[in-house]
Amino acid sequence: MQKMNLRWIFIGAILLLVTIGGSFYYITKRRLSSVDKSKLVQMLNQAVADEWFSHYQYFLASKVVKGSMQRDASDLFAKFSLEEFENSSKLADKVILFAGVLPMEPKIWYEIAKSGFSVPSDSSVNRLVEQNIESEKSMIDFYQQVVSFLNNRDVELDKVLRSIIEFKTSHLAQLQSFLEQLK
């Protein structure tokens, strides 16, 4: 009798788990399928292109920067350059997860990027900081558009996007504070 009860408890537990798992799968799948995936991939690729532009823009800035607090500015730009690269990698992984095709060569960045590339032709520290402040602002705007488009229908991607916005906001704050110190 006790054996029979245990068996029914076991079967019940299995059924409960299957029901919960199935519902979770159904809800997740339905939520994801309600997003226009090709539009989402397009937006993510735009962001990948912008991150690479930004990676090179900061790389150059860290090298060519001149003026007061040059060493500090160079270190800051170099750090941000690597963070932009890490962002691009996180986004690229998501593009692949959605079966999208990444921008296969750098010339495509020019066709798809939202914020674009600002040539650091003036190497004065003030100008470089200002230039990168503009780029960061533009990218924050774009990421917010992607978050709105996604409308919380993919929790994992939403987390990635919000973490990148956090990075960008922090870059922006640090650059603005740096500019204040230069005055």
Partner: protein, 171 residues
């Protein structure tokens, strides 16, 4: 700009020409960096993880080379190439779009890229030999890295061919 350092180099070789060569190499490094990065993201097939490990490590090495070259360009009073679209006009080795994601194709594409880079740095080593010790040392270091990269990729490709051969035998 290092005035004395530039003065010493100017006495023995055409600094403008050297800066142009270095900017061509800088463009090559950034294109190779992206080619490796994207290759690591899209590569498909057996031994994929081995390939990803190599491609990712090589991508990081190309970025490190780019850092070294850009620093040297500035020391010589030059300006590193200021925008990505110019990489295409300056590059020696070009960019091979990874349109076929099979591991073999990706490896072969990058082996060709490394072979081209080896030629480029070999010429730079000859150009700077006994004339510019700093650049000479730098390009020699990069040359050694590129030779190692070619070897690493070739080893993965050879292992892959052996694996495929043994699978065919089993059938």
């Amino acid at each position: 700009m290092a005035k004395k350092g530039k003065e010493i180099v100017s006495a023995t070789l055409d600094v403008k020409k050297l800066i142009d060569f270095l900017n061509q190499a800088l463009s090559d490094e950034w294109l190779a960096y992206y080619q490796y990065w994207i290759g690591a993201k899209v590569v498909e097939g057996p031994m994929r993880n081995d390939a990803i490990a190599e491609l990712t490590q090589h991508a990081g090495d190309e970025l490190r080379h780019a850092e070294m070259i850009a620093t040297r360009i500035l020391q010589l009073g030059g300006t590193p190439v200021l925008e990505p679209k110019k990489w295409y006009t300056l590059t020696n080795c070009g960019y091979a779009v990874p349109s076929d994601f099979s591991i073999k194709k990706i490896l072969k594409q990058n082996i060709e890229g490394e072979q081209c880079a080896i030629d480029v740095y070999n010429k730079l080593v000859e150009f700077t030999h006994n004339k510019d010790f700093v650049t000479y040392q730098l390009v020699q270091t990069i040359l050694a890295d590129e030779v190692e990269h070619e070897e690493d990729l070739q080893n993965v490709l050879d292992d892959l061919i052996i694996l495929e051969g043994s699978l065919k035998c089993k059938k």
